[in-house]
């Protein structure tokens, strides 16, 4: 069993053979992967050492102290948070060997082709078709939407319908899609903020070899559930400091602009401050539970709290700023690589936060999940359960 001392020794060895100061960034990251220090809980040979997940912190701390480069996890979050756990669980040995290393080093960016214009919260209703050709490979046609990083991505995880004659959850199959295929057309999707973080992706006659299928034909929904569960864990597991995020911006504005203060705004700010601090503590409690190997259900609710607070506090900030709140910093169509809540001004925060209760599961869907999976309340009656997908109203 690999322990903390063993990991420290291996980290020291890596730093000795690849001094960060004189080693090329990518070479260092590849060497780190090959040493099993990328994600220590992954299997040996795939960037890990079968070590407890909690020990990753030991490696990260040693490497950060030595000034080693990291793989900019924020930039490759979809690969790390969604594609990698799914590949690990459902991929063939060849798929794991081919995809995981460049995914982790960031050489190959990933995106996910799940949502469609007609299938958002009801993801299993998706209509993108994958049809088998005479060689047993696949031809995909359809349209996806809300795809972050699609314009940067080398690969995508894709869910498509392979059998319209069975109920909707049973006729789906999961693939790895090559984003350089000539049938893939990526177009920026301009948002409420003026910028385009996301894309629409049009798929016309995209050819996917059967070797790029993940899981069995018709098992796509099961595989997608693994992906989505890992997405929520990623959202709930982060640690933050007091006055981190939106409340810090609002509190700083309050301190900087005494001339704008009113009693009403003061009362509301204090209420938000308390709620933000409690949300931070709730996240911290969840983190402590995870560290002890007792995952709690708090994660299911953290995103709800985060979305509500971000929206309320950013709305408060625009109001607080008064006349300055009437101006907007920049409507230019830009293509940012991630969301930057603190790098922009109040109007941007207010508008972008509207997405927080929609992306990654709407607040309404998350409330259903809490009600049914945490509280054990009965599901709503369903009208689509035993009906072939092709016969459902659309």
């Amino acid at each position: 069993m690999t322990d903390a001392a063993d990991l420290r020794r291996r980290t020291a060895e890596l730093l000795a053979t690849h001094p960060p100061k004189t080693t090329d960034r990518l070479d260092f990251l590849r060497a780190r992967f090959d040493a099993g220090l990328a994600w220590v809980h992954f299997p040996e040979g795939l960037g890990g050492l079968d070590a407890p997940r909690s020990l990753q912190a030991v490696v990260d701390a040693e490497l950060a102290a030595a000034g080693a480069p990291d793989n900019t996890p924020s930039r490759i979050g979809i690969g790390l948070g969604m594609a990698a756990p799914t590949l690990l669980r459902y991929g063939t040995e060849e798929q794991k060997q081919r995809f995981l290393r460049p995914l982790w080093t960031g050489e190959e960016v990933w995106c996910q082709l799940f949502s469609e214009p007609g299938a958002g919260s009801d993801l299993a209703a998706l209509a993108t078709r994958a049809v088998r050709d005479e060689d047993g490979d696949w031809v995909v046609d359809g349209q996806k939407v809300w795809t972050s990083s699609a314009h940067l991505a080398r690969w995508a995880i894709l869910v498509a319908r392979t059998d319209p004659a069975v109920p909707k959850h049973q006729g789906l199959t999961y693939f790895v899609c090559d984003m350089t295929d000539p049938g893939v057309d990526v177009r920026p999707l301009r948002q409420i903020t003026g910028e385009a973080e996301f894309n629409e992706v049009f798929l016309s006659g995209v050819e996917i070899p059967d070797a790029h299928r993940l899981g069995a034909v018709g098992d796509g929904w099961q595989v997608a559930r693994t992906t989505l569960m890992n997405e929520r864990v990623a959202i709930g597991g982060a640690r933050s400091a007091r006055e981190g995020g939106m409340i810090g911006v609002a509190a700083a504005a309050w301190r900087d602009r005494p001339e704008l203060r009113t009693h009403d705004l003061h009362q509301r700010l204090l209420t938000f401050w308390v709620e933000a601090e409690v949300a931070r503590l709730t996240g911290e409690r969840l983190r402590q539970q995870l560290t002890k190997g007792q995952p709690g259900p708090e994660g299911s609710g953290m995103k709800l709290a985060f979305a509500r607070l971000a929206q309320q506090i950013s709305g408060w900030e625009v109001e607080f700023l008064g006349e300055d709140g009437l101006a907007y910093d920049d409507w230019t169509l830009r293509r940012p690589e991630g969301v930057d809540f603190t790098g922009r001004e109040a109007g941007y925060r207010y508008l972008r936060a509207k997405g927080n209760s929609i992306e990654g599961g709407t607040s309404e869907v998350l409330l259903n999940i809490v009600a049914e999976r945490v509280l054990g309340l009965p599901p709503e009656p369903r009208t689509d359960k035993d009906v072939a997908w092709k016969d459902l109203p659309r």
């Binding site: 503590l281 054990g376 309340l377």
Partner: protein, 381 residues
Amino acid sequence: MTPTTPAAEPDLLYSEEEDALRAAVRALLTDRCDPATVLAALETGRPYDPELWRALTAEIGAAGLLVPEKFGGQGAGPREAAVVLEELGRAVAPVPYLSSAVLAVTALLGCDTGRAEVAGPLADLAEGRTVGALAVPLPTAPGGTGPATVRADAAGALTGRVTSVADAAGAGLLLVPAEGPDGPALYAVDAAADGVRTEPVTPLDLTRPLAHVVFEGAPGRPLARGERARTAVERALRTGAGLLASEQLGLAEWCLTETVRYAGERTQFGRPIGSFQALKHRMAALWLDVASARAAARNAADALAGDGPDAQVAVAVAQAYCAPVAVRAAEECIQLHAGIGMTWEHPAHLYLKRAKADELALGTPGRHRDALATLVDLAAP
């Protein structure tokens, strides 16, 4: 000054010992303090359930958790007392735990425990031989104590009136902040002494009785004077407010659990009402509030246990957050139970009355937010 995250990382989980303590208290309350028993006890006119209190103090030693072993206590601390309060809140138990084992005990611990006048009562409270009450109005917030309404003469005779003291009617020992000849002081007064009169108030919360206490030349024994007396009372109020958050958490948790259970059983329009999304969302939102209240209450208990510099912020955050959550949980409990929730026979009203009274107790949420404004540098206009 910009507030930063406290240096020490709070422990927000429960230890194995705390889980064991919870199990013991819960088993006792399940046996002796089911809602029907609590309802019946309200009709007896007794200020609290003496058998239940005896079992809590003698069998479990709950009253002595905050008291060091050398004074006859358990030598535990606020984290453990918080677990007891969670369970008492879950049962709306009619016992003077907050008044005697938290407020009175903490006030005594703030005095010179080397003196027999302090150590003696401390041991009595720890072992449950005496019930104590800190003679301040229940709504008093930490940091908000003005001059005492009781005066003491040079001989220790007390005169004055303190309104709305929790559990005063059942208490044997009153700890009385008073203006003495040399400034503020804290006195011990036997509730049965001549010159002490309690005027019971008909309380909103029937499970935590209130009384005005009148002193007419009552004999007081001085416990502490000046800054020491002021600090002892302040610390009792802060500890009480911080641990009250755990009572509010337990109360809210019962309301949620019972509502979810009922919504899964009660059918209307041909299906369980818990399958309607309008109701599910309300219960799910409440669950998130309760999960968050747990983090806030644990943080306060842990901060009080460590007595760190961040304890004031932790207590203010916990009270500002947990008090409204308990009220909301009790209000939702009644609304989602609908008709049955409005009856006397269903215990939901006991929880609403306790939750609403708790919202005022030891500082309203607004008072605690006001305190935060200073503590975290968000000054008023």
